[in-house]
């Protein structure tokens, strides 16, 4: 059969509705799209069914290790549909905030300062979801300088202001950034009442140009103390920093501060008594080897006098004990007087006490070698009130701070790689090259705690000059300062009510 085919016939070989039939490419594309929809919805459904564990899928990132226990429980910290920061921009529309209370279920978060105008919310500074190893306390300096860059705007100064004017505009840790030098350098000399000569005590063999050679050898101190001070030439006493300054390596002495932070207070009994006994005479004046008689440390002259009176009275009547067995009338009988023996004993005792007092505190020896005296008395109730002196020789409190940095943290253990001389150079009689240190301290008015100029040698941006490196250690605000509760340890600054394990893990209040 012959086939005649016109052009039109040829043209209609292709059906006109061919486009309505999808090609296998389009077919597969649509099927894959449906599959993707099923997979994504299915995944979300599975995570939803997993409950709290599934919530971790939606998290914006892992939380820090310290909060890992609650990572699957978003509501442990978050209030649904409420920003976690009270200063969030969306609060203008939401207007209700409760997230801080979630934090305060575990963290008391005591106030930073009574004068703080607008305390930020917890999450404004402590930003979570930064990863397991992220620190929640090492904050950017901006979190601090938002107030401290202009303290006048960030604080209310209705209360008494102690912050000096040069600390009102701090932007970093340098004088150029507005961080003034440390407060203790300015305040401590005014109220410290202790005499101490570092140069003398740290000099080799205790020999100084001013005091000469005291020939202070080990045989002059008790056998018990010799081991502690046997550091110099044979037989000579040689002191070093650790002879008196010992680290609080156990922690807890300074109200919860971290072990290794500070040096324990210098105590007379442990560090001074060996060389500076409070001796007033020998046990037996006829025997040079009979040992000293000393009064205890830490009591006032009035109490010392009572002790001396008791000692000498006991001595005086040691062989005349029968005197104490005589009946003494409440008042002398008419025409009768005290016996001559009693009067002589009283004078003898008085003389002995006076001599002992002269040795102890009425001169510049013994007590007067280190301590200052100030009159003690009281104000009368008269009008106008009158100051009545009760004691001319009241030993003033030394007022040596146990913790010099009240508003900062310092850890000696962290600095154990640096020798003491690097920061406390003027405590030494000699320089590193063994030459005499012209700046060595001889009076307590010299504050040997270093100032900021020493700290910035390390705690500053690293620079290299002529092959020498300076700086490089961290110098952010939180390296030395804390916001909550000063610089105490966590248990001191963050007391919270304790709960059972279940309540703790589920962030619930403890049932009474």
């Amino acid at each position: 059969m012959a086939v005649h085919e016109t052009g039109k016939q040829r043209a209609i070989r292709i059906p006109l509705d061919y486009y309505k039939q999808p090609t296998w490419l389009e077919y597969l594309k649509d099927r894959l799209g449906g599959l993707a929809l099923l997979v994504s919805v299915g995944w979300l459904a599975i995570e939803m069914c997993r409950g709290d564990v599934g919530n971790m899928t939606y998290s914006r990132g892992p939380v820090a290790n310290v909060h890992q226990t609650w990572e699957a429980n978003c509501t442990a910290c978050h209030e649904p549909f409420t920003p976690i920061q009270k200063d969030h921009w969306a609060m203008d529309w939401i207007g209700w905030f409760n997230a801080d209370q979630k934090c305060q279920a575990c963290h008391a978060g005591p106030k930073h300062h009574a004068n703080e105008k607008t305390p930020p919310s917890c999450a404004a500074c402590h930003r979570e979801h930064g990863g397991r190893d992220a620190s929640l306390v090492r904050l950017d300096d901006r979190d601090c300088t938002q107030c401290h860059a202009d303290l006048g705007a960030g604080a209310t100064f209705g209360a008494k202001v102690r912050t000096p004017a040069d600390m009102y505009h701090i932007r970093g840790f340098s004088t150029a950034a507005g961080h003034g030098d440390f407060q203790h350098l300015k305040e401590t000399p005014q109220y410290q009442k202790l005499r101490f000569n570092h140069k003398l005590h740290m000099a080799p063999d205790l020999i100084t140009p001013e005091n000469g050679d005291p020939h202070f050898t080990l045989d002059k101190i008790s056998e018990f103390d010799r081991l502690q001070f046997d550091k110099g030439r044979f037989g000579y006493i040689q002191l070093e920093c650790a002879s008196c300054h010992q680290l609080d390596s156990q922690g807890g002495y300074f109200g919860g501060r971290t072990a290794g932070d500070y040096m324990l207070p210098v105590r007379y009994q442990a560090h001074c008594q060996a060389c500076h006994p409070l001796t007033y005479e020998r046990k037996d004046n006829n025997d040079a080897n009979s040992g000293p008689l000393a009064v205890p440390h830490g009591i006032q002259p009035r109490e010392i006098r009572q002790i001396l009176q008791g000692v000498y009275t006991a001595k005086a009547f040691k062989d005349e004990w029968s005197v104490f067995e005589r009946k003494v009338p409440a008042r002398p009988l008419p025409g009768k007087q005290l016996g001559d023996d009693g009067a002589k004993a009283g004078k003898l005792i008085g003389d002995k006490v006076a001599a002992a007092e002269k040795n102890l505190y009425l001169g510049k020896k013994t007590c007067g070698e280190c301590h200052y005296y100030e009159p003690a008395g009281h104000m009368t109730d008269t009008k106008p009130p009158v100051w009545v002196v009760e004691d001319l020789h009241f030993i003033a409190r030394t007022n040596v701070p146990q913790v010099w940095f009240q508003h900062a943290r310092f850890n000696h253990a962290a600095h154990r790689g640096v020798e003491c001389r690097s920061c406390h150079a003027n405590a030494y009689a000699r320089l590193e090259d063994k030459t005499a240190n012209g700046m060595a301290s001889r009076v307590s008015d010299d504050i040997l705690i270093p100032g900021m100029d020493i700290c910035v040698k390390c705690h500053a941006p690293q620079t290299k000059s002529g092959g020498a490196v300076t700086g490089g250690a961290r110098f952010d605000c939180t390296e030395c300062h804390r916001y909550h509760g000063g610089n105490l340890g966590a248990s001191q600054r963050d007391p919270v009510p304790r709960r059972g394990i279940d309540a703790f893990l589920n962030n619930q209040k403890q049932e009474p």
């Binding site: 086939v3 061919y18 594309k29 649509d30 994504s40 939606y58 998290s59």
Partner: protein, 329 residues
């Protein structure tokens, strides 16, 4: 959509707008970084605005599917939609990267970011292919036809070729048509052999200068050429299978080998059969072009297997992310 000099004026405003938006977002984010000490998070003002803008763009991008699906929904020109799809799709990348604060975050946010990047990358890949491949098809495949009809047209080619062979070689012993029995080819089947007055209409490609077009060509059938049996053998063994499936392993698939094969056949056939051989060669050439067209068409569209499904997943997971982010921000 092709970006070329001809339609550049319509794209220029989009490019300028996207660059300005990117620059503005970058300036805002960087200033927030400098002032805040760290890259702003997704819930900060700049981060939130960037995220919201990026999310709205994603929703718009997905609406293109709807616009194409419902063709009668004439909300703007399709070309305008495609331009917006391209440029806004590129714009959403920096916006959403800024929204992340350069942090991968948790599982969902990481998956979202990866999906976004793969979707955009696949879109860019598809856009690039659409610049190269159509031109390649235009230059190298003048016999281009409708992709979905290639199989059908190949069957027609086989039918036409068989008619030519029958006319030239005469009916074969048994005279069993090699055509597949399909309704659409029925009219071409069971051909008893044309007479001298019959003409065969064969599609051919005409080239005039730089213009190429496909025309139908009526030819007289070569009738019963003596000693033309090798033509039938050649057709059944080699030409017909190639016309049907364009097997890459066929000797006719490669143009050089195809030319050599037909030259070889010309030496074996009488000159009277050469016109028929030429028709077969032309048919093979067309079939080869269709095969190339199918390959290029595959590459021109297979990127959608990644782009479309991942876009669906991106949209669904984005909705989940928005919900959770607002719940715990």
């Amino acid at each position: 959509m092709i970006l070329n000099r001809g339609n550049w004026p319509s794209h220029r405003p989009w490019l300028i707008g996207c660059l300005l938006a990117t620059a503005a977002a970058s300036a805002w984010i960087i200033s927030a970084r400098v002032g805040g000490g760290e890259w702003p998070s997704g819930s900060s003002v700049p981060g939130f605005i960037c995220g919201a803008a990026g999310g709205l763009i994603i929703i718009f991008e997905c609406l293109l599917w709807l616009r194409k699906k419902v063709r009668v929904w004439r909300v703007g020109r399709a070309q305008a939609w495609m331009r917006a799809h391209i440029w806004l799709g590129l714009l959403c990348v920096p916006l959403l990267v800024y929204h992340t604060g350069f942090r991968m975050g948790g599982t969902l946010s990481t998956v979202l970011l990866i999906l976004l990047l793969v979707v955009v990358a696949s879109g860019i890949w598809g856009l690039a292919l659409q610049h190269w491949l159509p031109r390649q098809m235009l230059d190298e495949l003048p016999a281009e036809t409708i992709y979905s009809q290639i199989e059908h047209l190949s069957g027609l080619l086989v039918a036409e070729a068989e008619r030519v062979v029958r006319a030239t070689c005469g009916p074969a012993p048994g005279d069993v048509s090699i055509l597949p029995k399909s309704p659409r080819l029925r009219e071409y089947g069971n051909v008893a052999g044309p007479s001298a007055e019959d003409h065969i209409v064969v599609g051919a490609v005409r080239t005039v200068g730089r213009l190429q077009g496909k025309v139908v060509q009526a030819q007289s059938a070569s009738n019963n050429v003596a000693d033309a049996e090798p033509l039938r053998t050649f057709f059944c063994a080699t030409v017909a299978p190639f016309l049907r499936s364009a097997d890459p392993g066929s000797p006719l698939h490669h143009p050089t080998k195809r030319k050599a094969a037909f030259e070889s056949m010309r030496t074996k056939l009488p000159s009277a059969a050469h016109p028929s051989l030429n028709i077969l060669e032309e048919s093979c050439s067309q079939r080869w072009q269709w095969a190339q067209q199918a390959r290029l068409h595959f590459w021109l569209h297979n990127w959608l297997w990644i782009h479309f499904p991942l876009s669906v997943a991106l949209l669904v997971l984005m909705v989940a992310h928005v919900w959770v982010a607002l719940k715990y921000w």
